[in-house]
Subunit: 307 residues, 2 copies
């Protein structure tokens, strides 16, 4: 039995953003990384997300990344860039350009400075963005990540947005780690594509009607996640692959994710420039880096040969 894919579905990496010596985005290297991910199991790429340090870049830097990826030939249909900022005009600018460049969708954080805001206020913020962009090609994926944004997206808000913008509001990335919240949303809102932010919940969510996963760990583990996804669609036994995928995740998520994944990329490519992160993030301490490398060796997973 082969299950049919949703509009956006499957395995997405929340792509890392490599940096130059002055901590600017290294767009050429990012394009190479994106190509490598698309060649090794990724159905799509959530560039400019939490893992990609998007909120540490100015809007102009983020626009330059989107332009640069388009110029480098990364197909827009594979992209789901993060565009959600605290200021609605910033979210509008990024979202509009992403749509113009053919992005399959955009992953939109709620405005995340003010806490304990009402659903009315969050609805107004998303509504302003959708109305101001005013493009029928726009597909919005809501980004629920209460541990980081501290601004949760509840079912009541989703329902109101789907009711008002049924052709635009397409799904959600749920990084809460709460499987019940994900499966509940997949059940409550048919056609609404729910992605897990975690490998551990990827398969349980697929089985409950979810769309796939969008994860940081897919920067180095996408071939494994792709085998799990293909095996699930084809009804094959995927317990071993899934167990390995989850083990890789568990070894990495003990550390701050962007730094840990950049450390792995530095070792994989032999290029220490990969370790650069923008403040307030910091590169891994040497001891932690050694411990992580050892843990991944013990698991026995090797990422594909780097670009």
């Amino acid at each position: 039995m082969t299950k049919s894919p949703k509009l956006a579905s499957g395995v997405f990496a929340a792509a890392l953003t490599p940096l130059t010596a002055d901590l600017s985005p290294d767009v050429a290297r990012l394009a190479g990384h994106c190509r490598w991910l698309l060649d090794h199991g990724c159905d799509g790429l959530a560039v400019l997300g939490t893992t990609g340090e998007a909120n540490s870049f100015s809007v102009d830097e983020r626009l330059a990344i989107l332009e640069g990826l388009a110029e480098a030939g990364i197909p827009g249909r594979a992209l789901m860039p993060g565009t959600g900022c605290c200021a609605v005009p910033d979210t509008v600018r990024l979202t509009r350009r992403a749509v113009e460049l053919g992005a399959a969708g955009v992953l939109v954080l709620p405005p995340f400075y003010y806490k304990n805001v009402s659903d009315d206020g969050l609805f107004a913020a998303y509504s302003e963005v959708i109305e101001r962009v005013g493009d029928t090609r726009l597909k919005v994926y809501l980004y629920h990540f209460p541990q980081m944004s501290a601004v949760p997206i509840g079912y009541g808000l989703i329902e109101r947005l789907l009711d008002r913008y049924p052709d635009t509001v397409a799904g959600m990335k749920d990084s809460s780690g709460d499987l019940d919240n994900m499966t509940g949303a997949a059940r409550a809102f048919p056609g609404f594509a729910v992605f897990s932010g975690s490998e551990e919940l990827f398969l349980p969510l697929l089985r409950a009607g979810g769309a796939g996963c969008i994860t940081a760990v897919n920067n180095v583990a996408s071939p494994l996640a792709a085998r799990v996804y293909a095996g699930w669609r084809e009804g094959n036994d995927i317990e071993a692959d899934n167990g390995l995928l989850v083990a890789v995740r568990q070894a990495i998520v003990r550390y701050p994710l962007s730094a840990a994944l950049k450390e792995i990329m530095a070792r994989l490519t032999g290029d220490g420039d990969w370790r650069r992160v923008r403040p307030p993030l910091r590169p891994m301490e040497d001891g932690d880096a050694e411990a992580l490398a050892g843990a991944l060796d013990d698991i026995g997973y090797t990422p594909p040969p780097p670009p």
Copy 2:
């Protein structure tokens, strides 16, 4: 006995930002509001803070506000604009321009998207800003507001920053509501100007060596706060004024602050345009607005005649 003021000290309003019909900053009206506040007890103005909805504006909008206030003749020496963004280049742009325009200081949130970051990472972020601005006129006030930013600023970080940038790091606005944290910082770091974000802790903090207050409620209660401050410096009895100031605060802080204060300004000026806020904030509900107006009537405090 008259106590001598610190470099920046006394009563500051975290100024509201009035909006036009399309929810853009109404800079002319803001300038009028700033003049009114400076004429009625404010020693300084923390424009573009949490109350001023700064993070709901793009960097270009915030720069236009700073330029507009300078053109309207609001003296830079009275200003302590908020300039802290998630992205270091944004903080640098805003801070540099504020210094060029003669701002007495800048109030700098830590990068507030990533949570649980290390003091190393926060030190690196502040350090990048200070080094990139590279101006001896720069005076940085750290903004500790864990309930909103979810990124606290601890004594260890303050100590490292003071050690490295003793002529630049000038003080802190503490909106934690924790008097012990404020008085502890005032004691631990001589010459470091600690401002309370609350009227209730204003007088206790002054008595423990603090510098003053920077508050939302001062948008409508600055004459009262000024009487408390002057009375404290001159050794007069200020219990009645302080009691009234605290009562005004307690009536207002039951509601989301920016909306409640804009509601009060709308009633005071007879101009409903004052009620506009940017999403994700929302104007007050009618019932809450009536209840707030009634509570303020009961207290018997009337703000000065509006501009």
